[in-house]
Symmetry: D2
Subunit: 358 residues, 4 copies
């Protein structure tokens, strides 16, 4: 239902948030849970290939989540020990963190690629003069390398926030008390450990700080990419023409045009992330389970992850394909700028590159 | 990529906003355009079955939209008269309005179904007393019929706003001047008429008032559905128990529970609509084509339409399945309420029903 | 608490949404209510000058709204007939509509001023050629008059939506049943009539469709203004220089710069409106009174109205001060555009102007 | 212009984000800058009492910011060395961080107060049984202390995120290159140090990661408060009545009611924060200075800080005033829950309290 998905989101990200990926994650969670609780279950029953995810979604309409029919199907294969002591949200929240961790890993790699491309530009154009523009008016000279270094600084900060994310397991049982486990805290610890997820201080079924932090970090990363996109769109304008995307996008109406398509897509994807981030950071979570806000998270999270990936991939592609027209940069500078020096622009490039290499 | 789509969105809505639906709409637009421009094209070439939408999306990545590769494929079959004088946005915006009009029609039908169910409840329980609650504190008596009548009033208002929507064709050529047509205004009029779309005063490629109005109306409709969901969730609480959903949702952890799942899903879907509405109403549209905000619309629009459908279907299902426990309503009323009359509650029920039947 | 308010919002709008304006509106509502209910009250007691609005807000903290202390103060002067049968929300919602109607009137006047300025530009530059830009790449020729005509079309559509707004009175008593009135429906009708407000089908204390429609219309109007701002910012770029704001903004760092400040402020104000519109269109309204979402409306509504006014005033000022550099427009056009005609640009200008004058 | 401000926001927070506070912060920044740059200026000229902030805002309309007129006024008193080498954004961004740091300090104290109150409840009611509710249906038993402990955990996490915030100085000169300084990087370091602000890797005039992180942390804190508000509203319902606010809010229509007003206000304030956070995290920042998105930050930031304070103060007041009705908790539990144990509820209370005390 994601319109024109492949146009925006690379396949790896689409796969990472597909219903199949969610199913696999739910099955991993169920298996880890059974083992953490000491149940003897047949691993073969947890093979995603055995389950029809679309059918589970249809059936899940009755329960408001896909875990309930999945558990029924799993128990038919692996016995009643499956899911014992757990609630649907335990499995879905844990699966969400598995899905998110994986997609965030992909996102980090895309950001790293974009960062490498920015670093190369920053170094190559450390001293290439161009006009800095405030309110889109020429202000003083800067260098293109410094522009790229500022993009890089934004990406590095986005990476740091991703690195700081924690992906907690969720296990609370029916309502967060682990009531149906013997030694619930131990089960919970083993469960988290088996999945290499964090263990939070308390179950977070109705405290969505982890989701909010994740959403904010994705939004921030997408914004760093959108900043690159916006700057490239502006620098690629016909009247500015200081950069262009190699093999820029064709136009159906105007064969002479070469559009900065990757930059445009980075901006478009970032808008999608921002919308989902607003949803994910603003829900109402009633007592021990939200009656609606929780269910709204699943698709929003997938879309935020996927479009963050789309933004990063587009920004990376944009920077990697960027042609820099130093002559034009020089020619564009208005007379008002001629007497003004570069200040610390080059020193700041060096500073960012040093951090990048550290 | 829409996570657990069938759990939230009925099949008719998923189909209505599928990539296939968009492809069909784009082909309809291209065919209507060719004819409006007087081109002699072979209708057989516009058969959606001939085109691979996923492949077009992949190829569209280079141009930032799927129309560019579609036009190439179409021209290979139907000649260069295809798309002559148009730009990608003409086709996509027009297709978006075709997709939207169709989905809004489905949405209206769901809202009508929900309205009929509310009307039946309002009539049946016109005089069934219950406690009204402000800030969730019992306030004075009301009737359940009046509660249902207020839901109905919300749905009627949502329907009115949908009915007021206009779905305009978009035709402007490369940049809104219809430069490549002979008699562009006539072509534009014929184009709109052939698709039974509105003709706007001017091309709207960079003035998105129609998209904003559509998004706001979808959001409003979803909120009317969410209001029903919220009230049902509250009235279905264990301690209140004044309503329940027939065949309420099962729980993996607690067999005794019957959850108001449809109400929960209505709220969840409305949250998804609201997020997309915020995106669709707040874009920046640079000069003659937005460099990002436009591309972000397509998926956002599909999701808003689909989840509005999900909200309406869930609200309808909820009201249709609603069991009303009049005895409990009476028993719940605190002593403070006993001496207070029903005021105009019943008269207001009558007023709403009269409007509904008008 | 609105930071640097006068920088963004003209005094008339600040006054129109001030606490004093709200106080006056609440007093008008109380007086109209008393009379509609047949109470004999002393009009002198309803003089805003008698009341300390800041003090009422402080006291209102205990009740969660300012009406409760106001009613106590009013009753001390005018007797217990004041507010009889009403609830705080009746008075606040009605006051909100009075405040909103007044501010929307001011907004309409600002939009009309902006429209007049756009119309003058459209007419004067009906045939002034310039490059149209898609994705900020030169595409084909257009005219500056057509650009201004498209701004005008956006403003006209925004005005139409404002004109379509309805401002309903709210009267429901404790929980919407008008329980404490004799002939509640008649009282309600007289109340609305006295204030020249609409009467809705049912009290809307927990159905916020009127607020949503108002917020969406304000957002839409602000977006139409932001579109002008964005286009001017882009056309005023140093490298484009096709327009400039007369007496453009000074810079502390760069005396040579002339910034398109009004355009910038229009965009800034529109962002503020959009944020509040998202709040106002997405609240959760529990049963007969929202426990939070209602209280959040008051400031959000004031801010949305004020910043919509700020956006319109800035856009108007921008267009009124716009200097059009036709020579530069001609000079900027790239060779690719030279052979392409203006298409229907001028005819579309005529069409918009005809609509404007109708 | 903030409607009914004192009703929502404590005086300390209103003061902390007042125009006067911004003026003081701008003057501090200007003074620190002059000294960092080695200028000999008369400190007396930087006394806020000398300046009329409302007048500066009026004058600032021409420049789009209040720094330009302030600098003119300052230079008239203290000479042309004032502001030398800086741009308006340097001063405003730095002032924003001073304002924010101060307000975040107040916020942290309110959260600490709320946390202390939660901790007391968690300890006192460690073993007080009550029904846990999922989708607002009774699920299994929990304890009220565990409920309070989960609120506490949310507050602790919110505090941690606030503690992790960095408040950077901004100094870049006209366009981020520090062009007009001798030894710009040294000046920048001294400037930050004098104000005890962080020094970022590069000037952040057009990379708003610090603003985004701040906004997300404020939003997160407000959500933690809103969670308390929502739970209290639900537990205080007439039919549940497990908690109440001491001296609950009076009603104009229903003397018998006692409303959970503080809980309601916490939710209302959180909605205001969320709206501003969405604005602050989603702006477009063109090249070396945003043409609109930057100007929109000032009021949004003030409002986010103030309403976060309002949310925290309301949540704190709510928890401090909370009356816990253990008998009713016990009586409310449905028969389905009687046989189910408390699981790890008490152990989890201990865990949270141990973390709190650490």
């Amino acid at each position: 239902m994601t319109t024109f998905g492949p146009l925006f989101v690379p396949e790896a990200f689409r796969d990472a948030v597909s219903d199949t990926a969610w199913l696999e994650a739910m099955l991993r969670a169920e298996l880890a849970l059974a083992r953490a609780a000491g149940a003897d279950v047949d691993e073969a029953a947890f093979d995603p290939a055995l389950y029809d995810v679309a059918g589970l979604c249809e059936q899940g309409r009755a329960a408001g989540n896909p875990v309930e029919p999945l558990v029924r199907a799993l128990r038919a294969r692996a016995g009643d020990a499956v899911h014992r002591g757990a609630t649907s949200q335990d499995v879905l929240d844990t699966a969400a963190m598995l899905v998110a961790r994986n997609a965030v890993g992909l996102l980090a790699a895309e950001l790293d690629g974009a960062a490498a491309a920015c670093a190369a530009l920053a170094e190559a154009h450390r001293s290439t003069p161009m006009a800095a523009r405030t309110l889109l008016q020429q202000a003083v000279p800067t260098t293109f390398g410094y522009t790229a270094a500022r993009w890089l600084a934004g990406l590095l900060e986005a990476r740091l926030r991703l690195d700081g994310l924690r992906f907690p397991a969720q296990l609370g049982g029916a309502a967060g008390t682990l009531a149906a486990f013997d030694g619930g805290l131990d089960v919970s610890a083993r469960f988290a450990e088996a999945l290499r997820l964090d263990e939070k201080l308390v179950p977070w079924h109705a405290d969505r700080a982890p989701v909010r932090a994740l959403a904010a970090a994705l939004d921030n990363a997408a914004q760093a990419c959108a900043k690159i996109g916006l700057d490239v769109v502006l620098l690629a304008q016909t009247e500015v023409a200081e950069v262009s995307e190699r093999d820029g996008g064709p136009s159906t109406a105007m064969p002479h045009k070469r559009n900065p398509v990757r930059a445009v897509l980075a901006r478009a994807c970032a808008r999608a992330v921002h919308a989902q981030a607003s949803l994910l950071t603003g829900g109402e979570y009633e007592l021990e389970r939200a009656a609606g806000a929780w269910n709204a998270e699943w698709n929003a999270l997938s879309q935020a992850l996927a479009f963050a990936g789309g933004a990063a991939a587009a920004a990376r592609g944009c920077v990697e394909a960027l042609e820099v027209h130093a002559d034009r940069m020089r020619a564009n500078m208005s007379d008002d700028l001629r007497g003004v020096g570069l200040g610390s622009a080059e020193a700041l490039v060096d500073r960012v590159l040093a951090r990048y290499r550290a």
